[in-house]
């Protein structure tokens, strides 16, 4: 299996190092959950991959494309969906999808049926001509997710996609992500809801202080902590607390 994303020595410092010589590889076609406590550097890492932040050092490769040297080519393959939906309140979901499709250069005859399918799948069809300003958080998240998927990205990066969603919407989003992975796309997501990572992720990466603490399947992580049958929460707390203690 080829690699969807390779980070090598990725570094970003604001006042303190946010991401510190991070090496990370995500294989094509897998759902990778990036976990870590608050301020661990997850969002900063993903923003650098999406081309929103320039790293101080290191390399980013997206399906073999050097994302720092050829950002436009890399961006064509990526969709970025942050925890705060990238929406325009005064546009309707249809208009929003039209705009995003235009940004990614999707031909109208391809984008239109795809928009229809996404709106129906996500339960936004009846709301398609209503402006987003009146939407609930869940509806906004779904509209933004539709925007992220309109250009059929090969690498989907989601930062806390399930925050603030009710159970039904969360299920819809999870099903959609799983369907994308089944169809061959790669998904990287961050989440504080560890059950989601435990149930959905092919592999899990745990970062803290901008560095990768551990990586692998849940069984790999259990083996690392020596706790057979432990939940991801137990493993996560063990690893992050252990590191905090070591630093202290």
């Amino acid at each position: 299996m080829s690699d969807a994303l390779v980070l090598a020595g990725l570094t970003k410092t604001f006042r303190n190092p946010a991401v510190d010589r991070l090496d990370l590889t995500v294989r094509a076609g897998e759902l990778y959950a990036l976990l870590g406590p608050n301020g661990a550097g997850k969002t900063t890492t993903l923003r650098m991959v999406a081309g929103l932040l320039k790293p101080d050092a290191g390399a980013i490769s997206v399906f073999g494309i050097d994302a720092l040297a050829e950002p436009i080519a890399a961006k064509r393959l990526i969709a970025w969906a942050p925890d705060e939906p990238l929406l325009y309140d005064r546009l309707t979901p249809v208009e929003y999808l039209e705009f995003v499709a235009g940004l990614w250069g999707v031909a109208p005859d391809v984008a239109l049926p795809r928009a229809e399918e996404l709106l129906k799948t996500l339960g936004l069809w009846d709301e398609r001509n209503r402006r987003c300003e009146g939407f609930s958080r869940g509806m906004k998240q779904k509209a933004a997710l539709a925007g992220a998927l309109i250009h059929d990205p090969k690498l989907l990066i989601l930062d806390e996609p399930l925050t603030g969603l009710d159970a039904a919407v969360a299920r819809q989003v999870k099903d959609l992500l799983q369907a994308r992975v089944d169809a061959g796309a790669t998904v990287i997501l961050t989440t504080h809801i560890l059950e989601v990572a435990e149930r959905m992720a092919d592999r899990i990466g745990i970062i803290q202080g901008g560095r990768l603490l551990a990586e692998g399947t849940l069984d790999d992580l259990r083996a690392r902590t020596g706790e057979q049958g432990a939940t991801l929460e137990d493993v996560f707390l063990d690893l992050t607390t252990e590191t905090e203690a070591a630093v202290a």
């Binding site: 999406a50 929103l52 999808l97 995003v100 235009g102 109208p108 928009a115 001509n129 209503r130």
Partner: protein, 524 residues
């Protein structure tokens, strides 16, 4: 912490009308502060200037006028009526916009209506706040000059404040009535847009009124003014009943003063009680309207999609510009200011005025630059989803070009007939003006791209303008291009001088994509 909290005792009884009013005023005051970026320093400076102006201009003027009386004649009564009409139109403009804003403060109203306070009390206080804000805005404008004059020599003239309060109550009632009528006729969403535009038009009416001489010709308006005065002084002319009441009330005569004050209070009480119930229903309907509209619109499928990033961005910007009522009214106002200049130039050509024609063309060019710059500032810097654009596989220049086109389209539509008429009457002036307008608008648009200050559209109305550096650069460049147009319209090649200077400044100011991106990152 808890000790400090228990020690604080409210000055006004919580839940009382006065307490509620104080809350509304505090919210309004914080709104004023927020529109000025929460900058106390600016307010302190303005206050100091007002105090100095009052002391060194108002007080001497008061001493000078202390023995001067205003005779109550038909002419002075007509002038007073006209002043009241102008101030009333400004107050009405403010109260219409504020009434609609109140209607849409859903979270705030939900909180109020879910409390044990009587809805009638809540609404009356809210409506009264509209009137008080309109009153304060106008009083702050004329008081630095008027107050010393009244205190030093004419204490009875302080009745002007009572008249202004009556006017504020009356215009608030009318503003509410208009907002409700629009709501009933065209629905909540359109009401928001149309009310903003109506408010802008009523406000601009004052400006356009002062520019009548440019629009329909100096001799005619001079004639109109002379006609009004001649009619007022004609012994056969009689003021309509109550026509002198505003003047008499302002002079402090008790009966007209009580009449105006009582009438306005009665009107306000009536409007509050009659419109209050409708207001509650409208506020509730405002939240359901979107759903109802969506259901109605749900039958249609998605329309045709646009091709490519440029077209998609252009369509998006035009939609957002059209749908943002507050920004739309600002844009409309700025474009309206172009009209008198255009008419001035055309009229000057008709009069074969050798200096006024190029002068007017230069002024039109300068205004086109300013309006173009303002619109470009809105479309380029007001961006709700900058990250979406940043992670799109499109060069930023494509977005910027689309945003500039979106900014210039409305202005072009307005300028084409003006410039067309100019070219018809004077081809050289028309062509030079067209080139000048295009160059000035483009130059200022580019400056707004190079020195953009991105922010969310929702925060945008609170910001007064782009950076001082960009504003200064825009003014200088548009000024130089205007000078070039002035000289060019007179047929001299010397116009190339200021044009080249403007070009040189632009070359000096230019930033490439990387530099712009770096500046935005630094600012963030």
């Amino acid at each position: 912490m808890s000790e400090a909290l228990t020690r604080r005792r409210p000055i006004l009884p919580p839940g009382s009308t006065a307490w509620l009013f104080a809350h509304e005023m505090r919210v309004a005051w914080r709104g004023v502060l927020a529109r000025r970026g929460g900058n106390w320093r600016g307010l302190i400076i303005v206050s100091a200037v007002v105090i100095l102006f009052t002391t060194f201009v108002g007080v001497p003027l008061g001493l000078l006028l202390r023995h001067v009386d205003v005779p109550v004649t038909k002419a002075s009564a007509v002038i007073a009526d006209m002043v009241i009409a102008v101030i009333g139109s400004l107050m009405l403009s403010q109260t219409i916009a504020s009434a609609v804003e109140s209607l849409y403060q859903r979270g705030d109203l939900d909180l109020m209506f879910s409390s044990p306070l009587a809805p009638r009390k809540t609404l009356t206080v809210r409506f009264a706040t509209l009137a008080v804000n309109a009153f304060l805005a106008i009083c702050l404008f004329f008081s630095p000059l008027f107050l010393p004059v009244a205190i030093v020599g004419h204490p009875a003239w302080l009745s002007v404040y009572v008249v202004m309060a009556a006017l504020a109550l009356t215009t608030s009632s009318l503003g509410l009535l208009l907002a409700m009528a629009m709501f009933a006729l065209i629905g909540p969403r359109r009401t928001r847009a149309i009310a903003q535009v109506t408010a802008a038009l009523i406000g601009a009416g004052f400006f356009l009124g002062t520019q009548l001489s440019n629009i329909i010709g100096g001799r005619r308006t001079g004639g109109m003014w002379a006609e009004v005065m001649r009619t007022a002084n004609d012994p056969a002319f009689h003021l309509p009943p109550g026509g002198a009441w505003p003047l008499r009330a302002m002079m402090g005569e008790p009966l007209p003063l009580l009449g105006l004050a009582g009438g306005s209070i009665l009107l306000f009480a009536l409007a509050s009680s009659v419109l209050g119930a409708t207001f509650v229903a409208n506020a509730a309907a405002a939240s359901g309207a979107d759903t109802a509209r969506a259901r109605a619109a749900a039958k249609g499928g998605p329309a045709r999609f646009s091709q490519g990033a440029f077209t998609a961005t252009l369509r998006k910007e035009l939609r957002l510009l059209w749908r943002d009522a507050a920004l739309l009214s600002q844009v409309l106002l700025r474009m309206l200011y172009l009209l008198p200049l255009g008419f001035l130039v055309i009229r000057s050509i008709g009069a074969s005025d050798a200096v006024a024609v190029p002068g007017g063309a230069a002024a039109l060019t300068f205004m086109a630059g300013q309006v173009g710059g303002s619109l470009a500032w809105i479309t380029v810097s007001a961006e709700d989803a900058p990250d979406l654009l940043a992670c799109a596989p499109t060069r930023p220049a494509v977005f910027w070009r689309a945003k500039l086109v979106a900014a210039f389209l409305p202005m072009t539509i307005l300028l084409i007939p003006l410039l067309g008429a100019l070219t018809w009457f004077s081809p050289l002036t028309g062509l030079v003006s067209a080139a000048g307008c295009a160059a000035a608008a483009m130059a200022n648009g580019l400056i707004n791209i190079w020195y953009q200050t991105p922010a969310k559209r929702s925060d945008f109305r609170r910001r007064r303008g782009s950076s001082w550096f960009a504003t200064l650069a825009e003014t200088i460049v548009a000024g130089l291009i205007s000078v070039a147009v002035f000289i060019g319209a007179m047929g001299h090649y010397a116009a190339l001088g200021p044009a080249i200077a403007a070009g040189a400044i632009l070359v000096g100011l230019r930033r490439n994509e990387a530099q712009i991106a770096q500046a935005i990152r630094d600012a963030a």
